[in-house]
Symmetry: C2
Subunit: 334 residues, 2 copies
Amino acid sequence: VPNSRNPTVYDVARRANVSIATVSRVLNAPDRVREDTRARVMQAIDQLGFVPKADASARARKSVGRIGILTPFFTFPSFVQRMRGVANALADTPFELAIYPVDSLGRLDGYLSMLPVTRRLDGLIVMALPLNEAAGNRLLANNLETILIESLHPDFSSIQIDDYSGGVLAATYLLRKGYCRFAFLGPGELPTYSLHPEDRRLAGFQDTLSRHGIPLPDEAVRYPALSHPDVHQEIQRWMSLPEPPTAVFAASDDLAIRLLRAAREQGIQVPEDLAIIGFDDIDMAEQIGLTTINQSLDESGRMAAEMVLARLGDPERPVQTVHLSLQVVERETA
Amino acid sequence: VPNSRNPTVYDVARRANVSIATVSRVLNAPDRVREDTRARVMQAIDQLGFVPKADASARARKSVGRIGILTPFFTFPSFVQRMRGVANALADTPFELAIYPVDSLGRLDGYLSMLPVTRRLDGLIVMALPLNEAAGNRLLANNLETILIESLHPDFSSIQIDDYSGGVLAATYLLRKGYCRFAFLGPGELPTYSLHPEDRRLAGFQDTLSRHGIPLPDEAVRYPALSHPDVHQEIQRWMSLPEPPTAVFAASDDLAIRLLRAAREQGIQVPEDLAIIGFDDIDMAEQIGLTTINQSLDESGRMAAEMVLARLGDPERPVQTVHLSLQVVERETA
DNA sequence: TTGAAAGCGCTAACAG
DNA sequence: CTGTTAGCGCTTTCAA
């Protein structure tokens, strides 16, 4: 005689011949249950039409089991690689991943207002986005563990990239390679809601050059729109200069790749006629053979996730700022 | 010292100097509590910002406001672009996005078991992953709105790509361009848990060629590992054939891009010596000028999301299969 | 990998 | 009216 009440974990457990703990595990951490046991439990669940009571789960659960990522440009390779780092770090934990793409200032404010209050998240990773006073306080007050990547705030742990020294590295590398006339390419369309590390990369680049007595004339520093014709045009402009540059530092691999294509189309040999160095070291950089500066994208995501998890496990852990080191990856374009 | 957890009835009770039972009564049967006691308790509740935990989840019971994506290779550009389509479709809705990356058969089974039962999702989009009988039934039984991309199941709406006709398109295009000796490049490392559309792309390619009386010899069909040396080697092998191919159909843009680089390194002119056509039309294809076959990646994600939302709004909506059309995008490599 | 047992936050029965 | 106490159904140590 079937029980008239809704089935519980106990019913499922009895039918599958396991303990209630195992039933719970099948639902909450399937990969921690042996294949055949899981199948048996799932069969019992299906047969009984078992549905866990939401309030009971909520009550017993100490966390909601979810980490969020707040990110602009969430499909740009550099951001995707950071997300990959996060996802990998989360893979064998009971935490799932929620994405909150930011495409405007309004969206950023909106998320920063609601996320801490609605308590649907245990932790938050904020990528390359500024955190204002009020938002920071709200996160703190509501006790949402937050880690910042790229931005800085006294009350939160963060992962920092030294963009200035990235520029120094690029200049140093190119100088040692013997290049002597330089140019810089930055992104032309900058949204207001995200951080802009390009300026500091340029500063490091420029300072290093000038320390070697080499100027970086204004016409060598360009911020074209990302369209193909625009990038094309910048190269033409450069190459028709009385003393055209022999090496370009592009503020991102994305830019460098566009530049590379435009150069090839104009019959400009890379690196013979024009050397190109990028910044980021996205996957595609390797596939294309682009010389660039590695900023440990995957690693930054992985560390951010680990830092969130660590704080979740022990809230007493001190706020810390981690500096990731940069490294030139020599390939074929410079 | 502020409490680090959310306040509970115990905190309220302590602060109001009553037992937890009284707190509960104030919440559930206020008239059974003396006026002044009730006021004291309410004051404590307000001060602590107390919200009964069960309530919170009970309120959310109608809709949790979350759509999930189950996907392999979630950082591959082609999958990322689909996710972008989904994210854009969700941007101005009250739904957030959860990602469930699948990296093994066990993980796939695990998610397919737990997701429908635990009710943390309103809808699910399954990308390029097979759905077995049991999993399908479970999704249905638990009423989790699901849309499939690439795979097919009679009980679920899906978005289909006609891979066979993609092969036909590639062959037709190359033939019309006047090429007469062909090769095919597929991925060498195939995980067991995901779908494999390459076979059908090859079939369409091969059939079309043979309909024109052109053979595709075995040695022209290769599945190298994705490492640079391996791809390099395939080209060498081809070019040293007595009758080397003049055009290659790569089963994905990723492969095509690797091939392109390897070719250039060996001084092989593309498309003069060897034409290359890819499949997918990822963002990068445009940036590097790759001729390829567009399969509307963004669009497929957008449609999937819209179909989930539509079914959520009106569960009576019939199951439908949408066929996305393919299109050759002519750029510079073929 | 699994089970026993101790909670989780809350409600309700029962005393007083 | 209020406090004590025993669950509710589920999760999560901890040991085995």
